[in-house]
């Protein structure tokens, strides 16, 4: 029987857990620091629990024993720790992305994974993840790629019992990093770092998302697509609503998102870490009826041809598009459909059509030039 482990049972880990229990016949193991916090979920989904602390590599090696694929759904700053543990425990690896800088470091482990006969697929959520596979698929229709533009927009039609003062659709720590680290943009064959929150311009997505203001953001697609697909220009933009951007901007302008340390009394604290902790304490958003829509748009063009690919999820929680892909791909590894060894970004290893078919089963639809293809 094959075994898949989920490392970290935060909001993404829980979506992965739900998808796996519905699609995977093997054994599922939750790898967590707080064992008691997932007891009920493990009981409900008939999963095993093992203690694992991402900051303590030894616990990881022990916890990964006899697991075929580990999906790392904890924070990306631990990506290298987890990959190195996988090399020791001989476990295949999937993660949700490494915000460009971690991705660069992770790619350097390629030979070690190859040597150990293991597969590591990095950045396998919605973005990075679906975005990379869309770009690869579009590239098949073009001779020479000039530009790859990635734009993500969403709109929320949900009703809520309670709304958090800062509603974030993913990890607040990741958002603070995305808003404070300089985004990488690949321009004319060269990497350029631009100002955070820059390039915020109106862009019209297909309805019901409509006009949004995507902004440059540090993302791992830029660390791989320029090289794997040999594009001349690659950019990534994601839209956040004005109120959210205003709040994060004010925090940034007033020093709350610095990577520096601050002394308070006798102790020193990392400023961004404390800010993230304070924001995590905010009252949570409690939905009444969830109805969100997200469009992940990838525009790939050559000198005289343009392919527009959209991945669309609507009528439910958009976080699903990040949690579902690693679950799909872990099954492909466990079932032997993906066999290449080494460290890969999604565009270099994922069979696009099989992947799109699996997404469609989960109501995530792909459109090529506005026409549904899965």
């Amino acid at each position: 029987m094959k075994t898949i482990g989920i490392l970290g049972l935060g909001s993404m880990g829980k979506i992965i857990a739900k998808d796996l229990v519905e699609t995977f016949n093997g054994k599922i193991i939750y790898l967590v620091r707080g064992v008691n916090s997932v007891k009920d979920l493990a009981k409900k989904y008939n999963a095993e629990i093992r203690y694992a602390d991402v900051s303590k590599p030894k616990t990881l090696v022990k916890a990964f024993k006899d697991i075929d694929v580990v999906i790392h759904a904890a924070h990306h700053e631990f990506n290298l720790n987890v990959m190195k543990a996988c090399l020791k425990s001989k476990t295949n690896y999937i993660d949700l992305g490494g915000l460009y800088h971690y991705t660069k470091k992770q790619l350097k482990l390629n030979k070690q994974f190859e040597k150990n006969n293991l597969t590591a697929i990095i950045g396998m959520g919605a973005s990075p993840g679906i975005t990379n596979v869309l770009a690869k698929y579009a590239s098949k229709f073009l001779d020479k790629i000039e530009n790859i533009e990635i734009k993500i927009g969403n709109k929320d039609f949900s009703t809520y019992k309670q709304i958090s003062p800062l509603s974030a659709s993913y990890s607040i720590q990741t958002i603070l990093e995305e808003f404070s680290w300089k985004p990488a943009v690949f321009i004319n064959g060269k990497i350029k770092f631009v100002e955070p929150i820059s390039g915020r311009e109106e862009y019209k997505f297909p309805e019901p998302v409509g006009t949004q203001k995507p902004q440059y953001t540090i993302h791992s697609e830029i660390a791989t697509l320029p090289y794997t697909l040999k594009a001349k220009n690659v950019s990534f933009k994601i839209a956040f609503d004005d109120d959210f951007v205003d709040k994060i901007k004010l925090l940034k302008e007033n020093g709350f998102m610095s990577d520096e340390k601050i002394k308070i009394g006798e102790n020193e604290f990392n400023i961004k870490e404390v800010s993230a902790k304070i924001l995590k304490k905010l009252p949570k958003t409690i939905p009444e009826k969830i109805n969100q829509c997200e469009i992940i748009r990838v525009i790939v063009s050559s000198e005289n041809k343009k392919i527009i690919l959209d991945a669309k999820i609507s009528g439910e929680e958009i976080d699903k598009d990040t949690g579902v892909p690693p679950s799909i791909i872990s099954l492909m590894i466990a079932d032997g459909k993906i066999t290449d060894k080494g460290v890969f970004p999604p565009e270099s290893i994922i069979p696009e059509k099989d992947f799109f078919r699996e997404l469609a089963k989960r109501k995530i639809y792909i459109y090529k030039n506005n026409k549904k293809i899965n």
């Binding site: 020093g255 601050i262 404390v274 304490k281 905010l282």
Partner: protein, 382 residues
């Protein structure tokens, strides 16, 4: 060295201002606090010395006060320390001044009236800009009226560069903007909604500004001292410039003003302490200038006819004091009042407030010497 004054919380911004003003006036000053590095510039004055004081330890504070041989303690620490500072003064036998205790703390502080009277000591509460200058202006205005029915009081400030600078203690700001204030309504204290919008007003030296109803001690002390003149209504209105208010409001809404401990890698921390340290790092930009208007409007009767007296105290960033912006009106006021107490111009013993104890004319004259001008209506007070 025998000291004339002890400044508690000298390490904070107001403590720094009060200490500098006392030192500039030629007095020997013992600077007390927990972080010596924050009084480095003041220690260049020959008449200044530093003593480590943690106001959580009343006995030890009292012992340092006693050893200083000073007669007067000027408390510029956070208002939650007021009672501890008062207790230390009672043990050591020093007169006491502070910058105010908003409403709850002020009520608690008045319970020590007998203790101070018994020791023939003065405890003058709320000696900054507001409370402080506002109370003295109110006493001046009320004195000109046969009866007073309504007093509106507050502050408004703005800066030439619209960069957020922490205007005063973040702890006080969070308390003011989140606590349901008590207002005096038809002779009775009544609870109002925290930070309720009070409309747009125009202020001397400042353009139009939004005002908010916040908790402040004047409501309580005005009723105490002007009740005999028929006072029935007191409203406190705070005016913040938009660029400052939106940051403060956002920080509070996002939990950065919380006092509930959070755990960071095994160490407990109050978000508000973190916020204070972060905001302190924001320096005033070059050529940054502030203007503040402390104002009162007293409505009453004189010789049987309705009369309204408007007073303003306008302060601008002063040369040599650029690092403190308009906050000089708080630190300098307490210094002036402490010096008046030292010169026996303030005679009242027990717990008292500026509207009862501080003679307006010499006080206004001292403000003027420091560039802070009092206006009665449109006229400059001479």
């Amino acid at each position: 060295m025998k000291f004339d004054f002890v400044v508690l919380g000298a390490t904070g911004e107001e403590g720094n201002i009060a200490s500098k003003d006392l030192l500039e006036s030629g007095y020997n000053v013992l600077l007390c606090g927990r972080n010596k590095s924050r009084v480095k510039a003041l220690l260049e004055y020959k008449k200044a010395k530093f003593a480590y004081v943690d106001l959580n330890n009343i006995e030890k504070t009292a012992s340092i006060l006693k050893k200083s041989r000073a007669k007067i303690a000027v408390n510029c620490a956070e208002l939650r320390m007021n009672i501890n500072a008062m207790k230390a003064c009672l043990i050591a036998g020093l007169h006491y001044l502070d910058l105010g205790g908003l409403q709850e703390m002020t009520i608690q502080q008045y319970k020590f009236d007998k203790d101070f009277k018994k020791r023939k000591l003065t405890a003058l509460l709320g000696c900054g800009s507001t409370p402080g200058i506002s109370n003295v202006m109110a006493s001046y205005a009320v004195d000109k009226l046969d009866s007073v029915e309504h007093i509106e009081v507050g502050f408004a400030w703005d800066s030439n560069i619209k960069r957020f600078i922490l205007p005063y203690s973040i702890e006080s700001i969070v308390h003011e903007l989140t606590t349901d204030p008590i207002i005096l309504d038809n002779g009775k204290f009544k609870k109002a909604k925290a930070c309720a919008f009070e409309g747009v007003l125009k202020f001397k030296g400042i353009e139009k500004q939004n005002t908010y109803c916040i908790v402040h001690s004047e409501v309580f002390t005005f009723k105490r001292y002007f009740d005999k003149k028929g006072l029935k209504f007191v409203h406190y209105k705070a005016g913040f410039p938009e660029h400052s208010f939106r940051v403060l409001d956002m920080l509070i809404k996002l939990g950065f003003g919380s006092k509930e401990l959070i755990n960071i890698n095994g160490i407990n921390l109050r978000p508000i302490d973190f916020t204070r340290e972060i905001l302190k790092k924001i320096a005033r930009p070059k050529n940054y200038k502030e203007t503040e208007d402390i104002w009162i409007k007293a409505y009453g009767k004189s010789r049987g006819k309705p009369k309204k007296i408007e007073m303003d105290c306008v302060v601008r960033t002063l040369k040599g004091w650029e690092n403190f912006g308009s906050n000089i009106n708080t630190g300098m006021s307490i210094s002036i009042m402490a010096q008046m107490l030292n010169k026996n111009l303030i005679k009242k013993s027990g717990i008292t407030a500026p509207e009862e104890a501080v003679p307006p004319a010499p006080f206004f004259s001292e403000l003027k010497k420091r560039g802070m001008h009092i206006y009665i209506g449109k006229k400059h007070f001479i």
